[in-house]
Symmetry: none
Subunit: 223 residues, 2 copies
DNA sequence: TGGGCGGTGACAGGTTCGTGACAGCTTTAC
DNA sequence: GTAAAGCTGTCACGAACCTGTCACCGCCCA
């Protein structure tokens, strides 16, 4: 899951980015609307976290132009204000959710997960395939009820695959979901490595990760 | 995806072409506006990468005449200049994006992908025919819901046929969609080969690829 | 009946992928 | 604060598979 966090307070942005990456999300940080637009020109995101109070152009500006050009990426708005009016304005402009500063990081993560789930049109919180079930909230996997120890990256990769079960996901796409621009020099080859590690840990889970040479990977239930 | 890269620095062009082809894009290289127009007369492209500083006629010339004759192919401009004026000029002439030299190759790829994605989002719905469905986004084919493993070339060929279902596609046309001029030494015969492989893999899919001798191939639903 | 075009099996070459070993870094435990 | 454990990502080499050629056969049409 790739997130863009638009926020001018750098220290805060870093703290959030670290927590999110710990939760398996690749998070880029833009400190202005202009910077955010550069990121958006180059990379597509699964969600945006958008501070309203920015130096120069405001966050609502960005949201408006996003929606104007038909971009439906889920947006979570942040603000220090609390009036009902502001809330309504933000939602009318096309924000999907709203959080008042200061906020609890766990709440941010939870709301983000909710947005992403809505986007993927998942019925339930957990992703289930064969005997395997995965909970994005706790980043834990279970095979027939027994927990499987996955590392952060392994879990993030599994989540990406499961969200698009049955569809081939290109290596580049998985790479973009796993790594932010910060981790610039990581080789594409790392994906192969994590696929191998996942396959090993998920042996007997009733699922198969198959390789389409030159195209990517796909997860399916056995049988 | 077929790209035309207009650039007079041959060594640089080659490096870029290699990287792009590794990313699955067929990339032709023209070293002048005149050469580019020869390519464009003969072949249609999914995107153009256009250096502004060329010997003889400049890149903006080419862009202008393209747009003047109604060609909306996405264009990514390259230049050594950095002024806001140049940027605005290029965008006003109809360039879709803009990159300043020297640039990072990964950024070029990323921006190109973004351009192509924007273009592709409109036509990325699944192609359905008989019991066969193909999703261009994930390059996945299914027969009655069961995935069929296709290689990259097979998938590209199937997509071409399905986009023009019921119409005869000449062998040359299919060839041009699959190969760049660079792969010059690939025989036309390769198309026959891939048609054969597709027929084999799609047996029982409720579709038929029929041969029109001397004309080309056509895909239809059975019955 | 012959010429041209398309179909197909086998094969060589090249690319992509899988995987074990290893080094750097972070986290955890004491 | 230090040591141990574990996670991450690189490298290199071998295996698997895609790719396109060749050769040969069959079919269609004049």
């Amino acid at each position: 899951m790739r997130i863009l966090y638009v926020e001018d307070a750098t220290d805060m942005a870093e703290a959030v980015a670290i927590r999110l990456s710990r939760a398996g999300m690749a998070c880029d940080h833009a400190d202005s609307v202009e910077a955010a637009e550069d990121f958006l020109a180059v990379q597509s995101y699964d969600a945006l976290i958008l501070d309203i109070n920015l130096p120069g152009r405001s966050g609502t500006d960005l949201l408006q132009s996003l929606r104007a050009r038909g971009d439906r990426t889920p947006v979570l708005m942040l603000t220090a204000l609390f009036t009902v009016d502001d809330r309504v304005t933000a939602l009318d402009l096309g924000a999907d959710d709203y959080l008042v500063k200061p906020f609890d990081q766990r709440e941010l993560e939870a709301r983000l997960r909710a947005l992403l789930r809505r986007e993927a049109e998942q019925k339930s919180e957990d992703l289930v395939l064969g005997a395997l079930s995965f909970s994005p909230a706790s980043m834990t996997a279970r095979v027939a009820g027994d927990p499987v120890d996955l590392t952060r990256r392994e879990a993030a990769l599994l989540a990406l695959l499961l969200r698009h079960r049955g569809q081939v996901q290109s290596k580049e796409r998985l790479y973009n979901g796993l790594f932010a621009f910060n981790d610039a020099d990581v080789g594409l080859n790392a994906i192969e490595l994590y696929i191998a590690r996942l396959r090993k840990k998920l042996a007997g889970a009733g699922v198969t990760i198959s390789t389409q040479r030159g195209l990517g990977y796909r997860i399916d239930a056995d049988g």
